[in-house]
Amino acid sequence: MSGPERVRRRLRTAARWAFADRYGLVLWLGLLCWFGLTWRVGVFIQDTYATANTLVALADGQLHVTEIRYSLTLGSQPGLHRYDGLLYGRNYGQLALAVPLVWALEGVATVVDPRLLLAGLWAGLGLAFVTQVGRLDGVDRERTVTAGSVVVALLFAGSVLTATNLDPDRLALAAYQLSTMAAAATAGLLLYRLVADWHGRRIGLAAGAALGLATPVGFWATIPKRHTLVAALVLATVYAFAVSRRTDGRTALRARAAAYAFAGAITWVHAFEAFFVVGVLGIVDLLTARSNRPRDLLVVGLVLLLAATPMLATNYAISGNPAEPPRLLPNVDGGDVEFSPDTDGGADGSGGTDGANSGTDGGSGSTGSGGDGTSGTQDGESARTPPDTDPVGSFVESTVDTASSTAGAVEPIWTFAGGAVADGVDTLDEPARLSHVFVRSGHVPGVSYRLNDYEVIELTLLEATPILGALLAVPVLAGRRLTGVTFDSLRPPDPRTLSPRRQTDSLVVALAVVLTVVYLPRLPLFSQLTVRYLHPVVPLAVYGVCRVPAVRTAVVDETAWLWRAYVGSLLLAVTVVLGGIVGLGLALGEAVQYHALWNLAAATVCALAVVGRTLAPERVTTRTVAAGLALPAGFTTAFLALSGLVYFEYGTYAFDLVRVVADLLPTL
């Protein structure tokens, strides 16, 4: 075998390992191109300043912030933590992922103008995409590649002709955003692989594409918050778990270990969320594993430890205590201010140090004090404002205080985790609150809209992801299963004898429930936009949609119809919304709530179609179900596109051609 031949073969093996097949690669490239369309190089949520500055330092080989390259105003840098006189950021695992991209972009920028570098990157991705599409079975290769190449060339030329200055010091931020976009595209790819393994390529592709086009994953793809990466890692955990259940021997053990590796890697991004992911994985895995021999447990245990090592090492390097993540360190003045105070999760424990987190008033049904606590930071009082002394708040405070002061802060984390779950469960008997998180937002009492200039832009999970209306069929399916069995067989089955699919379903349900419940005490909250704290649940929920038989038949049997209905729905959505903006003179909050109502209507249609088909397959056609799925998908895509082009303005469009188009659209 010649040298180049061997290289090519290796590349092919690596590509197959990463993308499964050409469809996976096409999906991944396509999602990246789509995210790039509304990509703006800039800061959407203010706590990105601190992490972006930390990234600059990290790319320079330092853990502590050495240079404030990005800032809005002097002194305002929410999310910085102080230890021993030095300033630290957080989410180091996410930053580490972006470091090679910073080096690459800044390196190439020595010979290419930053703006053209981004345009060239987009063109390169576009070319790779059309070339790969051209090689798919059943595609007219000649025509696709010719037309695609011409389109890419025109887009690139257009971007060059309209190019504006981009300061080279924005490139680190751009790299940071690119890393999140890659994570979002990877989430789509993982969902494709997971669903395709169970139910075939078509539904897998539809699931992966829907994740990027018709869920908030598309919204957060270009915003470098941790949520996207955690969502991708959770999905990777589930995928590896699924592989471990449908394979045997060494492959199964390797996949099982990989599941722990992905879950363990989350510790480096957000220890609080990782704690629950690892915990749930551990429980479901041990209960359902075919074998829990000491050798197997030793392997997964070691892998988990290895995966958590970067987190432990970072913590050790910063504070000398491996169990104390930077989030537990004292906040720097400025606290969690701004448009989006990141009142992040509990064990991250910011509750102890910033006023914003005192808002975990479990019983009152609102997080008003969360908002108020933060609003105190607006006038420079900053995070030193002591938290309210509500029982939960002080519990959080005392827990975290202990955590901060104890060298081996493991025990308080356990206490805290238990508390978080208990508080979450307590909120389950508050229907109004749950409805404001999951169903209908509008003006939610207790949420501080002041920080967003009274724009009511916080959507609920269903408003942001109306395709989840299809999940209403799940209780129907469960009910049918229960009524169809005899009393005797109602005894819980041995989890070990469940099929690989059922075992994976169990993990997905457990993860979704736990990751939701632990955040419920904090919700509803301002600056969530699409309930971003519940972001990792979105891909899991889309997996759930794909597990509904009525959905699968519709997607597989009526793919062409689904696609046409989707395009029709998207056009309809863009028309009614732009019509609303122009005809009704909508303000930002009104436009977002207008979307919300349309999305809820679409979710209702979707739910009716899928439940109807499940109950009475002879009366509801697969085409109706396909249309019912396409409707919410099209409306969500319209929301994502208009959010990028019309509603939320910040930074500069990565591709100036998009700016030119956005300028032509009606404004609010």
Binding site: G124, T131, G134, S149, S441, H443, L597
Partner: protein, 158 residues
Amino acid sequence: MVRRYLTTGVALFVVVVSLSTGPLAGADVTNERATDFGEGTATVSSVDVEAASIRVTDGRFGTGVEYVRPPTATVSVESVTGRPRLVYLVSIPNVDVELVETTVVTGPGTYRLEPEDHGMATGTADAGTYDGTLTVRVQSFTADRTVYRENVTVEVAT
């Protein structure tokens, strides 16, 4: 075969353009950003504002807030030197509202300045009417000239 040359051609085009406009080659093709203004001035022939239409109304679709709805200003620019900008100010001091909308003018023509509606907590505007001022200015590094100013009564229709 055509497509292979085409793809390679496009890829080469991208690389060559990127390199030839880079810092080493020195042919900078990027323009100033549309929002960057500089020196110069503009002659404004007319400013058209539906001043009477300004009001405070309730937010719709469940927003549960109230909005100041400022009128659009249509400015006809006769001539321009340099890179000045138009500044449109809507001010209602008694409810602490100061809205600013700007646009850089690069040539003669008609410019529309549409400030976004401004959200406020319900009950902020508790009087029946408020006094407000609408102002349009031509502004640059060296000049700042008011070309339109009108006192208006803001009706509260909540």
